[in-house]
């Protein structure tokens, strides 16, 4: 029956966590970056394209968790999109493997300007534990320079959200 459920849901407290607040210094640094690059502000909504550059899939689990009802990333005006052509942000996870480098570069080329590059997870920051392997080039920066790094192995959804909301704030002006 729909009605009892609806009534229950209307009367119960929402399951969603209180909104995250980004660290002011991160917002300020991103704003400076934006001004420096003379980059247009993108407003209060960002479309995110996730790219796995070779991860262990731990980071993907936490990116997925951003969409669950507790974190609910869409309430911030953030959403994942299916194509880099629709994206304002490339959220890159994993160490950059040699086998993924070309795909990442092609993805970047398909992303319209202006675009933000976010490296999420220790691997994306500098290769993480896989640094030095014959099959790994290093962090995302070996192919494209990130604007924001979110360390952690994997970073928690809250940490990823803090980073993405900081991007929003910087773009909101």
């Amino acid at each position: 029956m729909l009605w009892p459920k609806l009534a229950r849901n209307l009367l119960s407290r929402p399951r969603t966590d209180p909104p995250v607040t980004p660290r002011p210094e991160v917002v300020a640094a991103l704003r400076d970056r934006l001004a420096e690059a003379g980059q247009r502000r993108l407003g209060r909504s960002l479309a995110i394209r996730h790219v796995d550059a070779g991860s262990c899939n731990g980071c993907e689990l936490e990116c997925h968790a951003l969409g669950n009802v507790a974190h609910d990333l869409e309430r911030y005006g953030l959403r994942f999109v299916a194509s880099p052509r629709h994206a304002d942000v490339l959220l890159v996870t994993g160490p950059l493997t040699r086998n993924m480098a070309e795909a990442l570069l092609r993805c970047r080329a398909a992303t319209p300007e202006p675009a933000w590059i976010v490296a999420a997870g220790d691997c994306a920051v500098d290769g993480g534990v896989f640094k030095g392997s014959y099959a790994v080039l290093g962090g995302v920066e070996e192919a494209i320079m990130p604007d924001l790094v979110i360390p952690g192995c994997p970073p928690t959804p809250t940490h990823i959200l803090e980073g993405l909301v900081a991007l929003l704030e910087a773009n909101a002006g």
Binding site: D52, S55, C56, G58, L61, A82, M100, V129, F130
Partner: protein, 494 residues
Amino acid sequence: MTAAALLTTGAPTACAPWPRVVLDRAAWIALRDAPGLDLLALWGAPGFAHAAFLDRAALRVVLASLPAPEGRFPALSPGRPGAVLFERALHDLWRLTPEEAVDARPFLDHGRWPLAGPLSARPAPQAPEAPPMAFLPAEGEGVHQIPVGPIHAGIIEPGHFRFHVQGETIVRLEARLGYTHKGTLSLMLGKSPRAAARFAARLSGDSTVAHSLAFARAAEAAAGVPAPPRAAAIRAAMLELERLHNHLNDLGFIANDAAFAALHAECGWLREGLLRAQHAAFGHRLMMDRVLPGGVAQDLDAAGVAALRGALARIAAALPGLLRIYESHASLQDRMVGTGVIPPALRDAFAPGGVVGRAAGRAFDARVLNGEMAAEAMPLHAAGDVDARWRQRHAEAGIAIARAEALLAALPEGPLALPLPAQGGEGVALVEGFRGECLAWVMLDDGGLIEALYLRDPSWLHWPLLEAAAIGNIVADFPLINKSVNGSYSGVDL
């Protein structure tokens, strides 16, 4: 010849708990068709080909090796289709050539590493220009190709799918993997098991406990030091928790791929509650790096146990409702039932583990082999379609809760870890993760450092079955089938 008779022809090594037998060429070739043996894995070492089988009747692991001084060995793929991907990877990583192999194309090597055969004794310089991947063809009127990936539309690991379709219908599918190849095995060589554990923990992040545990048990078997009882119980509980959070994830995502968002939202909420409890109990949402060779990295206190039991109780209370919702929506049933069928003939040919195998009627679970669970405890939804895989996961989620509850309620006291002596040895272990059995084989040198090893994710045998199960289905159902199999990319890419 029977498996037992074959093995008596070789020289056994001191691998624990199951010996590894070094065979001659004729005996190795006989393994192709030896009855009663299911192929678990096939891998290499400089100058050797190694294979692991499951002896179904005796319920034990059988390890066999063949010296390959000339860099060649008789392929097993002519008799065992499951060997195909292993042989391709064997050639890519160890430069050993499988003779008479069914498929000699590269797999993990895309021609982009600086050296070919990075794990062989003498890696060769890479050819300057790698030929493009030649996909298996499909012929017929109006057949066309759909290339997808390596970057997919969702939040998912990279891999390339090449569909041949006729109208709406998939005629052939081939998955090209290897994009996330990180050289994990090479990074573990020469390290102590303790130092190498973080790589096993990152073979496939969603199975971090299962692979860490398989590696730890293999290293402990090699060193002859079993984990103390408290550590063993905490690890067993973590394994069930990991199974549960992944099953919840899959139950939700399969429904989501049939555009049934409510179930996805509910499963996601329950799973988040469990991950938070895991964070409270272990300091890490996915419990990464908490299993160590020799024991566990940290204790589980009463507050942690209480947090976990609270989350388990909430999930246990919600599970019957999930099934009710699933069964009462014809729109959902319509997408699931009869979709992506793995028929008995293919099940028997590949002998897949885990939910994929059990939901096709193959009653194997490594927990039974390890004496951790009774065989009768596991139900089988054997139809082999997406529906069976959903129901199998749902049933197994309930069992995981009961097992975790029982373990948490009676944690023995005692030490958390024992040091592993710096000495030589060889060990193997099979641990039932949420996808199926994770195999680890470790050989330690006299200083206790890793001389050779292999870690095998259950997905090796799931990917070819996904390709087969997709045939005859419409392209729009592929995400559903794919999610219901849920192979690990990183786990296979190594």
